[in-house]
């Protein structure tokens, strides 16, 4: 594990920022997460060491990934390339966060980090250079949709960080695309602050190529009356982890999450979510779908934490899983930790294969078995895809999923 060795010996980069220094210092005391902890115990060890076995990408070659055509009214940013932005229009503004603002916020976050739970963020912030560090402040209304890309380069480890402040009463649609490259590792950390009355439709689409790895961490803080909608999709990664942490800092907020992961071959993709209600009247509706085929392994662990202060919380979490092969494996653990008594919390989990009766019905109507399976799968996928904003019509995600090998 090349990176860990370098962290231990402090031989990473010469020009370390203050944040990098703090995080590296934290990591040096225990450079790896505890493999026995709930968050890491199912993680495939050889895949995880493979993830850390690349050297940090210092150069930034122009991406050669053919992005779909940009429509005129979307704002596009590519982390590490074109991320200088200053748009001040009549009804909205999008600008870079000042260094002070950035440092202050990140330091506050680091102060509450747990070595295990936030290991991915610590690693990301230790390795993410100024160039790959984007902070945005978004204000106003009628803002055009935003697309933000993070991409890895072959044979290297890439760390990219995104911080977004959504000012009061602001309303945006944002699509984040993480693209893996063959034999590469991408560490993406996103920090979202939703101020009062703001709302976001956030899409996260991550897809890789052969033997690409991803460590994707998403931290969201929701203030009063904010609404956070997340549609997420992860597929085609040799090893990928998606860690979501959402905190409703004072309650009275709405969170909707629809996520999906698709594993084939011997891939391992996992989603970990932690939803923390820190005030009354919180709302959560979450569904996570997995599909595991061939020899792959899909994991979902979701925890909902409702402390005493979070009275009248209404939270539901559903984990639906399709296991399509004898050699594949699915682990799911939706969990509730509740202290407040006046709450409505529920969760559910199912694991099964495609519905045989439905398949039979379609076949009696002259549809072939492969087509019938495809139809069933597309309805399974559509619920999630339709929740991903901005590019759902341009990205032909459904085709990509149905035809992914």
């Amino acid at each position: 594990m090349e990176i860990i060795e370098k962290i231990k010996t402090n031989k990473l980069t010469d020009k370390q920022t203050e944040i990098q220094k703090i995080c590296l210092h934290k990591l040096q005391s225990s450079p790896l997460p505890n493999p026995k902890s709930e968050l890491w115990r199912l993680s495939n060890k050889s895949k995880f060491s493979n993830f850390l076995n690349y050297s940090v990408n210092e150069k930034h070659p122009k991406s050669d990934i053919p992005f779909p055509e940009n429509s005129q009214n979307t704002i596009r940013l590519i982390i590490g390339e074109t991320c200088q932005i200053k748009l001040i229009k009549e009804n909205y503004s999008i600008q870079q966060l000042s260094e002070n603002e950035l440092n202050k916020y990140i330091k506050e976050q680091i102060a509450c980090f747990d070595q295990n739970e936030n290991w991915s963020d610590l690693l990301n912030l230790s390795l993410s250079s100024t160039k790959n560090f984007v902070g945005l402040k978004i204000n106003g209304s009628k803002i055009p949709p935003i697309e933000i890309f993070s991409h890895a380069s072959t044979n290297s480890f890439n760390a990219k960080t995104l911080i977004i402040f959504l000012e009061k009463n602001c309303d945006i649609e944002l699509l984040q695309v993480n693209l893996g490259k063959e034999n590469s590792s991408l560490s993406q950390s996103t920090f979202f602050l939703l101020k009062e009355n703001s709302s976001v439709n956030h899409g996260v689409v991550s897809y890789g190529e052969n033997r690409s790895n991803l460590l994707n961490s998403l931290n969201v803080i929701q203030q009063n009356n904010s609404e956070y909608n997340l549609g997420a999709l992860h597929f085609k990664f040799n090893y990928a982890r998606f860690e979501i942490s959402i905190k409703q800092s004072a309650g009275n907020a709405k969170t909707n999450i629809k996520g999906m992961q698709l594993t084939k071959k011997d891939e391992q993709i996992s989603t970990y979510t932690k939803i923390d209600f820190n005030g009354p009247n919180g709302f959560l509706d979450q569904i996570n779908k997995s599909l595991a085929d061939d020899k792959s392994h899909a994991i979902f662990e979701g925890s909902i934490i409702v402390p005493k202060i979070a009275q009248k919380t209404d939270a539901s979490q559903l984990s639906r899983n399709l296991l399509l092969s004898n050699l594949a494996q699915i682990d799911t653990k939706p969990q509730l930790e509740i202290i407040a008594d006046d709450v409505k919390c529920k969760h559910g989990a199912t694991i099964s294969q495609l519905n045989e009766e439905e398949l039979f019905y379609m076949r009696t109507r002259g549809i072939t078995l492969p087509e019938a399976s495809k139809l069933q799968l597309s309805s399974y996928f559509k619920e999630i895809i339709s929740f991903i904003p901005v590019t759902k019509d341009r990205w032909d995600l459904l085709d990509k999923l149905l035809n992914a090998n």
């Binding site: 008594d341 006046d342 559910g348």
Partner: protein, 500 residues
């Protein structure tokens, strides 16, 4: 106090107070009930010195005149235990147990051999009488055979002759070691191996007594069998071991009850229960656990760290666990089923009630190994006071478990805003041709239902009790008759409190 509160409550019945009703002290009062089994029997006992080492293990084995294979089993387990670390993954946060400060063997002094119950120390009989367990002949009216375990030893087993007519062996495990050594050697430790976990290893090294049941081929046990465990000494740990073997096409219903006196120290209870069901056999194992739970400040109480596991070895075999957990300062147990035989069935029905500073971390493991196996989990948790009540369960479908099914339902009810309810279901599947369904919900006592019942003239306390009873109905329905009423009474006692 309860009466006056109810009056105040009634007087306000047309007010807007409904909002705060559940937060009021009323419910807190309702769930308080003193522990009525907390007395100590003053009886001369034979105890060995405190502490645990190889000599103690040898001494226990020697006292029980055990054959060599059993001593070897104990010593092997002890060596393994020494190398193991006490688990902390449940985050129960109890004070470190000093294993050298525990007496591992304590037995009431009595004559060497007892030929009839008349020879049992009357004080002992009186103790069990007080607990409502009929051991004496004249009280053996109910059709339940009882094995009574006092501290480390079994003192009496009733209805033995009657059972023997049917070929059923029901005796203490020490007797079984002497009289049915072949069965013990064949099955002991096959379901829960000595190295299974820290507490199972400890138990395997120092277990003192427990019950042994053997149901021969084709026999339906003519009556329910029951063990009653009583801890009397404050410094003695109880490490009993139960082994139930149901041969082909046999069936048995087994009940287990437990109580302990009130001490301000924590007593360790680390039992191991092993069930084996062969082809077409069925075992129903029911527990009403009412160990002393400690006082309101959480001082004292039993640490109930138990390993219970059943192996459905045969085709179409069935093991059903039902439990009502109301006692113990800390409960840490997961009655499990290993479903090996084709079409075997595992069931788990549980009600766990915690109050004050009690902690219950309980659930089950359903490991589907054979094809077409089925399991059902119904767990109801009720937490009141400052207690923590967690469901932790595992459902696993192995690669060969084609056509298997699981259904789990975990409901929690919270009473008061200081209690906590957690659900941790671990679900793992490696077999596409199987189905797993899990659902869980958490709620509090519905104000609307409470209001409705009260508007029909039902007292507040009775209404709460009715609703809790309704909440637990799915589980109570699974308990044998004798236990169902006891469990209902137990919950009512815990919940009734001082009103009226």
């Amino acid at each position: 106090m309860g009466v006056s509160l109810v009056k105040v409550y009634k007087a306000n019945c047309n007010g807007l107070f409904l909002e705060n009703m559940v937060n009021e002290n009323l419910v807190k009062d309702v769930v308080k009930e003193p522990y009525k089994y907390g007395f100590v029997t003053d009886i001369e006992t034979e105890k060995i010195s405190k502490g645990l080492n190889e000599d103690i293990v040898r001494l226990i084995s020697q006292k029980k005149e055990e054959p060599k294979y059993l001593l070897d089993f104990r010593l092997k387990a002890f060596k393994k235990w020494q190398k193991m670390d006490e688990p902390d993954w449940a985050g129960l946060g109890y004070k470190q147990i000093d294993y050298q400060d525990i007496i591992y063997y304590s037995a009431p002094k009595q004559k060497e051999k007892i030929s009839s119950l008349d020879e049992v120390d009357p004080k002992l009989l009186e103790t069990f009488d007080k607990l409502g367990i009929p051991l004496t002949e004249q009280k053996k009216l109910t059709n339940v055979a009882v094995d009574a375990v006092f501290d480390s030893v079994s003192i009496a087993t009733t209805f033995r002759e009657e059972l023997a007519k049917h070929g059923v062996i029901f005796c203490s495990i020490s007797e079984a070691v002497k009289n049915h050594s072949d069965l013990i050697e064949k099955y002991l430790g096959t379901v829960v191996p000595a190295s299974d976990n820290y507490f199972a290893a400890l138990n395997s090294a120092v277990f003192s007594d427990g019950s042994f049941v053997y149901i021969p081929k084709g026999v339906t046990c003519p009556m329910d069998l029951s063990s009653y465990f009583r801890i009397n000494s404050g410094d003695t740990g109880q490490f009993e071991r139960t082994l139930i073997i149901a041969e082909e096409s046999s069936s048995v219903s087994y009940l287990e009850g437990c109580t302990a006196p009130m001490f301000d120290t924590n007593t360790l209870h680390a039992a191991v229960v092993e069930l084996i069901a062969l082809d077409d056999a069925s075992i129903k194992y029911s527990t009403v656990q009412n160990w002393y739970a400690g006082d309101e400040e959480g001082v004292g109480g039993i640490f109930n760290f138990v390993t219970k596991r059943g192996k459905c070895l045969g085709k179409r075999s069935k093991i059903s666990w039902s439990q009502v957990e109301t006692g113990s300062s800390i409960t840490w147990k997961y009655p499990s089923c290993l479903l090996l035989g084709e079409e075997s069935v595992g069931e788990f029905y549980s009600v766990a009630l915690t109050n004050n500073l009690q902690q219950a971390d309980t659930g089950t493991k359903m490991i589907h190994i054979g094809p077409k196996t089925k399991s059902t989990i119904v767990s109801k948790g009720i937490s009141a006071g400052n207690s923590i009540n967690s469901y932790r369960g595992l459902v696993k479908m192995g690669r060969k478990a084609a056509g298997s099914r699981n259904y789990s339902q975990c409901d929690s009810m919270l009473i008061g805003d200081q209690a906590s309810a957690n659900t941790f279901p671990y679900i793992k599947s490696q077999q596409p041709n199987s189905e797993i369904e899990h659902e869980a919900s958490t709620c509090r006592i519905s104000e609307d239902q409470l209001f409705y019942l009260q508007s029909r003239g039902i007292e507040f306390e009775e209404a709460v009790s009715m609703m809790v009873s309704g909440f637990c109905r799915d589980v109570f329905n699974q308990l044998p008759m004798e236990f169902a009423s006891e469990a209902d009474k137990l919950l009512a006692l815990k919940l009734e409190g001082s009103v009226g």
